[in-house]
Amino acid sequence: MIRLSATKKLSGTEGPFELSVDLSFPPESLVTLYGKSGSGKTTLLRILAGLEKPESGYIEVHGKVWFDSTAKVNLPPQKRKVGLVFQDYALFPTMTIRENLQFAQEKKEPQKINVLLELTGLDELRERYPSSLSGGQQQRVALARAIIREPEILLLDEPLSALDQHTRNMLQDEILKFHKRFGLTTILVSHDKQEVFKLSDTVAVIDRGKISRHGTPLEVFLNRNTSNKFSFVSTILSIRKVDCIFLAVMGAGNEIVEVVLSKSDIETLKVGDEVLVASKAFNPIVIKL
């Protein structure tokens, strides 16, 4: 189990508030911290990584205590086996891609570097410097660098928010692939609902330092369980009337879909709404999120 409880006073843009969080989840799961910017998500990751110290709290990862304010335990970041991926990649600019990975290793294992470079499709770029890579490629390197030392927990701080939708989709797949293949325990910070639905086992919603809900994405965002045949989150781009029905154009990731809406739907939905489109049998159900 991973247990994380922490309190710390933060000064947000809307005045000071207290981060007060108590969260536990099983190993090999992917947990998303979801919330507005400035709600304390990143601080929580930094506390977990040992880069910031909470006023009080307790952190236990796979049976090892990393932080315990009552017993005065506080492992430095170097002693916590975390893989940290930043929004702006934080690759070492003076090292080549291969050197970036090599730096992350405790003992030299060139074979492992080769495997990871191959897995991420970066093999041909191995002797290039980070500045000559695209954002998506840089983030792949950052991911590989975080994974190469077999972290006990992988921390992703809005890793994809600076990327375009297409690259983002590809990297989401890649994160899932790595998460499963290496049996990682992963915490992802995100404010993108599509990303949350696609990647996470559970999602914890953070609002001004407190966890307001924690559960599967469906439970959290719909407050109930549905047994949908298919479902996706999308945004309504336009609604138009065609004869006696209404047609809504929706954007879901890269895809544009058209969905038939009934007259009763129209009353609650408007352009720009984020909705869940789900289907049990024939007509899709459109639920406002």
């Binding site: 070492f92 003076t94 410097y129």
Partner: protein, 221 residues
């Protein structure tokens, strides 16, 4: 022909000063860049004093401190068995203090310019602070390292007032090139003064040109 000794002394003084300043300046600049303590502005102000004080003022205080009756001079004489004022050692010590801001300021700016993320990424990859500084931070601020060293070196080469106050003009000991020129002009030997001056001029220009050329290349990468 001119006596090469003053030129040699100038280079030796500037070289030694620069090496010592790297040793002092790197830790000092790193601490200043990390620190958030209340005394920091005071420290920074003291450090920047040599930039604004007339060299004669600094030199005067150095002379008082370095002399046999001064606290530093007396202690020095007890340990090293020779006088600090009017010796080459005294010149080096004076130059180090006089040129300190020229080393520390670029280095501090360099440390500040390296994104904190890089150090944090390195810590979370299990690397100690020292290893992070050596392998991640310093390589990312090469142009600051170069600028600090060259400014300190060039400033020491161009020193006059402080050297005159605490070193005098002792042949082969404290008579550096800038002092030699002053002496020659005083004795109306313009031709020798010209030679020294031209050499210093060409030397300084070449150094600065090289720095700007190299820095441009470092910036591009």
């Amino acid at each position: 022909m001119i006596n090469p000794e003053p030129l040699y002394l100038t280079l030796k003084l500037a070289g030694l000063t620069t090496v010592i300043l790297y040793a002092i300046g790197l830790p000092a600049a790193w601490l200043l860049s990390q620190s958030r303590m209340r005394l920091k502005p005071l420290l920074e102000a003291v450090l920047a004093l040599p930039l604004v004080l007339p060299p004669s003022v600094l030199g005067f205080y150095f002379l008082l401190a370095f002399s046999r009756q001064g606290w530093l001079g007396a202690a020095w004489e007890r340990i090293f068995d020779h006088q600090l004022a009017f010796s080459f050692d005294g010149l080096v010590l004076g130059s180090v203090i006089f040129s300190l801001p020229f080393m520390v300021h670029p280095l501090q700016a360099g440390f500040n310019a390296v994104p904190r993320n890089l150090s944090e990424a390195s810590y979370s990859l299990g690397k100690s602070k020292l290893e992070t500084i050596i392998k991640v931070v310093l390589p990312s601020m090469k142009s600051s390292l170069l600028t600090g060293g060259v400014l300190a070196f060039a400033h020491t080469v161009g020193e006059f007032g402080v050297v005159l106050m605490i070193g005098g003009s002792i042949e082969g000991k404290t008579k550096v090139a800038s002092i030699a020129i002053y002496d020659l002009v005083e004795s109306l030997d313009y031709q020798s003064a010209h030679i020294y001056a031209a050499i210093l001029f060409a030397f300084s220009f070449t150094i600065l040109l090289t720095v700007y050329l190299v820095n441009k290349r470092l910036d591009i990468r």
